[in-house]
């Protein structure tokens, strides 16, 4: 038996459930008498509901109720009751609150029926008369209305320094350009769903698709005046989220409202079309000025972002912080303005702000390298920074140089002809591009509980989520290694609002935060075990301190002499202990404040562009990642592979097209909103660069959910330039743009 699991490629502990259909998602819990709710969506983007006639729907056999703003049961009045952990400043959307329409596809009624089909048919029978009002949905046409929000949801733009205008004016090499990307939607494979089970005692058990059961629970508790005992939220499996589950979505509100009103269990599942009705990566235009000396030394950086938000909340993300994190410059200025439109509030989507800001920054750096006649990697090394210039803090660790070196070597970067449109294979223009990535490696406060029983079985739990990231598996590994137990004897529980508090499952901070809590709670169980072991007859641990012992292979051992050991089960049995139970709250160490914690990456990409047809294919990707200690090399690699796939989607495919006439996303389905499919994805080579970090958290792991995506889209844009000589500054890069 070997119980050193950290750093090993380990199969997912929930794998068997996922390949047999045994893993149950929010819409898959059944009770007898379950009712189905189907959402009716607004056809207009702004205005009022003048009339809503539900009579015909109610006549349909099987339809029991149609809830609208006219007949809904009372819910909370105040804005603040609808706020959740991820709310931007402003007034959150309140479903069925009144007759006002604030965005296209706004939910305006819920048809509740005995079968799914009857509810769906019933929804088509609801007759609505609208009073339309003019709407505004065009970002670019409304740029003159851009404003600085009273309060940023994100980090406010960093302070300016030096004199950017003068430095830019006198720079030997300059780039001044605008970069744009469109709105994009998360589109997890599982559509948002909530099943609210009405229990016999009048309490609710709600199965919800969410990245935080606590956030969902608080939301419904505040709105419907339920205590935490009256409404439990459960979410054992989440079919992808990518940020879409960070805020409680309206299906949760509607399912709970209907269950309370009807005193029955109700399931509400959104349609794929309705998955385009709440939250998206905001369309953003970025204006960049970069100026450098002839040798490539950066002298001036200016970045101004213009991003969409809704009329009711000021959403913002960290778009303009990245130049300070990555490149030294004495003169820099940043601004981030919002443009409010008649759309739902944007929502964090995988690497929010980072994907956006780094696409523009890394495209501009490539343009600067080309203009200065310097190799793109060299230009980045020339301006490499050892501190985050936003707060002059040193990095807790930064192996980005190694990412560049190992990535370039694996890719064969030295064979690149710097000339654009210089490499060709038949009709295929070949382009090689690269870009840098960075993402925050934050630790949040998190709690965890552990229970060890005399049979040697350990159960550890925390109210976090596993959205496919591997939380179940890595937490099991951390716990098993901490107490030297076989993986099979350790169970990790999550996704239950009755468990100890965990932060939102996002921001790449789950391993860092919940993992640290798991390690800490297992260590406290270990200390208890040691105390018990000291009392065992002829104990080799009579005088041993916790620092002098270790747990491995089912035993407590002296570090100095592994033959001095006691089996964990024997300690518990000899001391006749029923169980050891511990609960801890782990907090970031105060010294972290003096450092800038970031993960880094370098992406190298090859594209082939058909000279005659303009079709673009990514044919090779090397992604080198400095993400601290890797807990599970297998699931970690999968995280990066997924990030690269997302980068390819962002660069070449994804775009939620706004029809400004109707104020509606017109391609709201998976046939017309293109995400990468199998045939779009080439071989992807992932390198984890060795990186040691004692500061970032007790595990030294930085989190990998977002670092994989950030550098990929700009690397592809730069490769397309290298292939074709055309610089495409507006994503996605489609064939019409390169022709």
């Amino acid at each position: 038996m070997r119980t050193d699991y950290i750093g090993k490629p380990t199969n997912r502990v929930d794998g068997r459930l996922k390949v047999t259909g045994g893993a149950k998602y929010a819409a898959e819990f059944h009770v007898p008498g379950l009712l189905y709710g189907y959402v009716v969506s607004s056809e207009i983007a702004r205005g009022n509901i003048a009339e809503i006639d539900t009579n015909e729907a109610l006549q349909l056999e099987g339809v029991l109720q149609v809830l609208t703003h006219e007949n809904r049961p009372p819910s909370a009045w105040f804005d603040k009751s609808y706020q959740d952990e991820d709310s931007p400043p402003g007034s959150p959307f309140r479903p069925l609150y009144n007759s006002e329409i604030q965005f296209s596809q706004q939910p305006i009624a819920l048809v509740v029926a005995e079968t799914f089909e009857a509810a769906r048919y019933g929804a088509t029978l609801v007759k609505v008369v609208y009073e339309e009002a003019p709407h505004t949905t065009d970002l670019k046409a409304n740029r003159a209305q851009a404003y600085t929000p009273k309060k940023y949801k994100s980090t406010p733009p960093p302070d300016s320094r030096g004199d950017v205008d003068a430095a830019f004016a006198s720079a030997a090499v300059k780039v001044e350009q605008e970069y744009t990307h469109p709105s994009e939607h998360h589109n997890p494979m599982e559509m948002h769903a909530s099943t609210a089970i009405w229990e016999e005692d009048g309490t609710l058990t709600v199965y919800d698709k969410t990245q935080s059961v606590k956030n969902s629970q608080n939301y419904i508790s505040q709105i419907f005046g339920l205590s935490s005992k009256e409404a439990l939220v459960i979410s054992p499996f989440v079919g992808g989220a990518f940020g879409s589950g960070l805020r409680p979505q309206y299906q949760l509100f509607l399912a709970v409202m209907a269950a309370l009103e009807m005193k029955r269990s109700v399931r509400v599942v959104l349609t794929r079309q309705q998955m385009f009705s709440f939250g998206h990566r905001p369309a953003t235009v970025q204006h960049f000025q970069l100026g450098c000396a002839a040798d490539g030394t950066l002298q001036a950086v200016r970045q101004e972002a213009f991003a969409e938000t809704s009329k009711f909340e000021d959403y913002s993300e960290n778009v303009v912080v990245w130049p300070n994190t990555l490149y030294k410059s004495e003169n820099a200025a940043f601004d981030h303005k919002l443009i409010s439109l008649d759309v739902y509030t944007p929502l964090d989507m995988r690497a929010p702000g980072g994907s956006t800001g780094l696409f523009a920054l890394e495209s501009a750096m490539d343009e600067l390298a080309a203009a200065a006649g310097i190799d793109p990697v060299e230009l980045r090394l020339k301006n490499y920074t050892e501190e985050d210039q936003s707060n002059n803090a040193p990095f807790s660790s930064k192996e980005l140089r190694e990412c560049y070196r190992q990535g370039a070597e694996r890719f064969g970067w030295h064979k690149r002809n710097p000339e654009a449109r210089s490499m060709k294979e038949g009709h295929q223009l070949i382009g090689w591009g690269m870009a840098t990535g960075a993402w925050e490696a934050k630790q949040q406060q998190a709690s965890a509980k552990a229970l060890l029983t005399p049979d040697g079985k350990l159960t550890v739990s925390s109210a976090t989520a596993d959205i496919g990231t591997g939380t179940y598996t890595v937490m099991t590994q951390i716990a098993a290694e901490a107490l030297g137990l076989p993986l099979e004897d350790v169970t990790f529980k999550l996704g239950d609002s009755a468990l100890p508090e965990a932060p939102l499952e996002g921001g790449s901070w789950t391993v860092s935060s919940v993992g640290s809590a798991v390690k800490q709670v297992c260590d406290s169980v270990g200390e208890k075990l040691l105390k018990l072991a000291r009392k065992v007859e002829n104990s080799p641990f009579a005088t041993a301190s916790f620092e002098e012992v270790t747990f491995a292979d089912g035993e407590l051992r002296l570090k100095s002499d592994a033959s001095k050991a006691l089996a964990v089960t024997r300690i518990l049995q000899e001391r006749e202990v029923n169980a050891i139970e511990e609960e801890v709250t782990s907090k970031p160490a105060s010294e972290q404040k003096n450092y800038a914690p970031y993960s880094h990456s370098a992406a190298f990409v090859e594209v082939k562009v058909d000279e005659d047809l303009g079709t673009i294919k990514v044919t090779r990707v090397v992604s080198a990642i400095a993400g601290g200690r890797i807990i599970n090399t297998k699931t970690a690699k999968s995280q990066i592979l997924g990030g690269v796939v997302w980068g390819i989607g962002m660069a070449l495919e994804e775009e939620s097209l706004m029809d400004n006439t109707f104020g509606r996303f017109m391609n709201h389905n998976l046939a017309e909103y293109h995400v990468p499919v199998n045939a779009d994805i080439p071989d992807i080579d992932v390198i984890f660069v060795e990186e040691h970090d004692d500061i970032v958290n007790p595990l030294g792991a930085k989190g990998l959910g977002e670092i994989g995506i950030v550098g990929v889209a700009p690397a592809i844009a730069n490769a397309v330039y290298h292939a074709t000589g055309k610089r495409i500054r507006e994503l996605p890069i489609t064939l019409d743009k390169v022709m």
Partner: protein, 175 residues
């Protein structure tokens, strides 16, 4: 001058529900006789009537492949077909692939290659892999990528899925 068409004077009928029909299906080797409304899709039959929720709904429009099942050995999108159309058919879903505790080799390969993350598209990907091998059309790596493109994986596990399919293809050739 023609008379007004008669239909205008007829009041619109109240909405109605379709009558039920009797259908016999063999699902995962169990024959069952079902009373079904003809508007129930095969997918909704599995998930909502029989609680075989391993088969997933990702779009309900045949655009994502999450609902892929094996109908008489062929892979199909179960959301795009009505249950009553398959009287007498043999259906295998993800729940019917393992033999007791022993996983189907494709299921085991999905675990070993970490060919999934959130797991939601996985039952469809697994059924699609088995269907693809049954079809016998895939010969090259590009064929595999092409013929597996009806199954979207938003987590982006494609390169690992391809390894599973390559392995399964080699296994089937060896037979």
């Amino acid at each position: 001058m023609k008379n007004k068409p008669e239909t205008e004077t007829i009041e619109r009928a109240a909405p109605w529900l379709p009558p039920r029909q009797t259908v016999t299906l063999t699902i995962n080797e169990t024959e069952m006789q079902l009373q079904l409304e003809p508007w129930t899709s095969l997918l909704d039959l599995l998930r909502e009537h029989l609680h075989l929720t391993g088969t997933k709904k990702g779009c309900d429009h045949g655009q994502c492949g999450a609902c892929t099942i094996l109908l008489d050995g062929k892979r199909i999108n179960s959301c795009l077909t009505l249950a009553v159309m398959h009287d007498g058919s043999d259906i295998t879903t993800i729940e019917g692939l393992a033999k007791g505790e022993e996983l189907h080799p494709v299921q085991q390969a999905f675990i070993d290659h970490d060919a999934f993350q959130c797991g939601y598209c996985t039952p469809g990907q697994i059924c699609s892999t088995i269907g693809l091998i049954n079809e016998g059309k895939a010969k090259t790596l590009d064929d595999i990528r092409d013929l597996m493109s009806g199954n979207i994986c938003r987590c982006g596990a494609y390169s690992n899925i391809v390894k599973v399919v390559q392995e399964a293809l080699e296994r089937s050739k060896a037979k």
